[in-house]
Amino acid sequence: MEKVIDIRHLNKSFGNHEVLRDVNFSVAKGEVVCLIGSSGSGKSTLLRCINLLETPTGGEIIYNGENILDKDHDVSKHRTHLGMVFQSFNLFNNHNVLKNCVVGQQKVLKRSKQEAEKNALKFLEIVGMDKYINAKPSQLSGGQKQRVAIARALSMDPDVMLFDEPTSALDPEMVGEVLKVMRRLADEGNTMLIVTHEMEFAKEVADRIVFMDKGVIVEEGPPSQVLVNPVHDRTKEFLKRTLK
């Protein structure tokens, strides 16, 4: 299988605090990978290293055959290949829904306004937010904001979508609408790396589950293995805690 992201011996420390230790893992094209683990285990940090919001302190991140940690690698261009969805949405407060999905296409990808709006509308329709193009972020509910954030990321036509606990900041009744959108994206063959605490969802959509603990990958495999018959004690313990 063609590897899109290939991470080798990745380390990340904040000061003398080692947050990621010798992390090795990869994501193949079209694969949906769910990253699980307890709070503080380094899931967000790993995701943020992949689009260089954090700078790793060691190891390699190979993206489509190129090491993105090379000094002369174009960081901005690399980031356009990855769509990032944050726990706290982070919609641009000064722009309405449509402009949120257009501004990156225009300024970074240099698309024409017309082309950018057409593309944005396509994805806003997919997430069910095409009727709200004139609304400002402050006028939307959490679930609506997150769906716009997903459309914004998709509008850049990324190769891989990264999700960092996209439903954790949502009221329970809004979790479903966001997961529904993500399920659809998974079904359509998008490559996705998802940090989540939604175990049912992970079991359903993931091709592979990766369990992290204290900065290392403890166990990975298909959901039927990791979530149902885990090998490691730490995984068992974590599942016992989260599933009850």
């Binding site: 689009n51 919001l53 901005s76 261009k77 980031r79 356009t80 990855l82 990032m84 944050f86 706290s88 949405f89 982070n90 919609l91 641009f92 407060n93 000064n94 309405n96 501004v103 990156g104 300024k107 970074v108 990808l109 095409d130 009727k131 709200y132 193009i133 004139n134 609304a135 400002k136 006028q139 954030a149 914004r152 990321a153 850049m156």
Partner: protein, 241 residues
């Protein structure tokens, strides 16, 4: 004081009063705009992320140090003294500056020093998530500032800028020390001729008040306009089809 005497002062001097008020307004408006731009520039310079140990970051540090010195000097001294130092200081080099331009220079520099702090505070108070979201779609620092951060900062410092405008309308009175023919200077001249000091200044007082009240009302309207309609336009099926 009597209404009669006030009316007679107005009758004889209204063109001068208006001219004085006009100069006051010009100084206040131009200086506030220029000062806000200075403040914006300094605020942006102070928040450029430094990459360790490059020549560029060394230069940036020096420039920022100079800018900080400027801010401290202009915030730490009275404008009336600044006006004297700037005007007579430049004159001492044999270059007599136009008094009106000197006034704009002094008030702008003074405003810029205050606005720099507001802008820096405004930039710092924008959530980290706004930067990260912009960077995550591939924007560089410059694009992030121009398209995402500064529009929000400008909106946030608008009330402070409005305050500054009102302060400038009032404080430009001190420029009379360098004989700028703004409202206070004009009033002083009128009073020195007619000896009706209280009445002459009462008229100036009302004119200042009219200017400041109008300014704050206009600014409030402007802010409302910027914020756009309270309700968004829901796109009906007919429209989107």
């Amino acid at each position: 004081m009597s209404l009669e005497s006030i009316l007679s002062i107005l009758e004889q001097n209204w063109p001068n009063y208006l001219k004085g008020a006009y100069i006051t307004l010009l100084i206040a408006i131009f200086s506030t705009i220029i000062g806000a731009l200075i403040g914006l520039f300094i605020g942006v310079m102070h928040t450029i992320p430094l990459r360790k140990k490059s020549f560029k970051s060394f230069l940036l540090k020096i420039v920022n140090f100079i800018l900080s010195v400027y801010v401290e000097i202009f915030r730490g001294t009275p404008m009336i003294v600044q006006a004297m130092v700037v005007f007579y200081g430049i004159a001492a080099y044999g270059f007599v500056m136009d008094r009106f331009l000197a006034a704009i220079l002094v008030v702008s520099l003074n405003t810029g020093a205050y606005m720099a702090e507001y802008v820096r505070g405004g930039i710092v108070s924008i959530e980290k998530g706004q930067y990260e979201a912009a960077e995550a779609i591939g924007m560089n620092h410059f694009q992030t500032m121009v398209h995402i951060i500064l529009p929000q900062v400008i909106r946030n410092i608008l009330p402070a800028t409005g305050n500054q405008l009102i302060m400038n309308i009032k404080d430009s009175a001190v420029l009379s020390v360098i004989s700028v023919t703004e409202l206070f200077f004009v009033t002083k001249t009128i009073a020195s001729i007619n000896y009706k000091t209280a009445d002459s200044y009462l008229i100036a007082c009302v004119m200042y008040l009219i200017m400041t009240l109008t300014a704050s009302q206009l600014l409030r309207l402007f802010e409302k306009k910027l914020d756009g309609p309270k309700d968004y336009n829901f796109q009906s099926d007919k429209k989107s089809a």
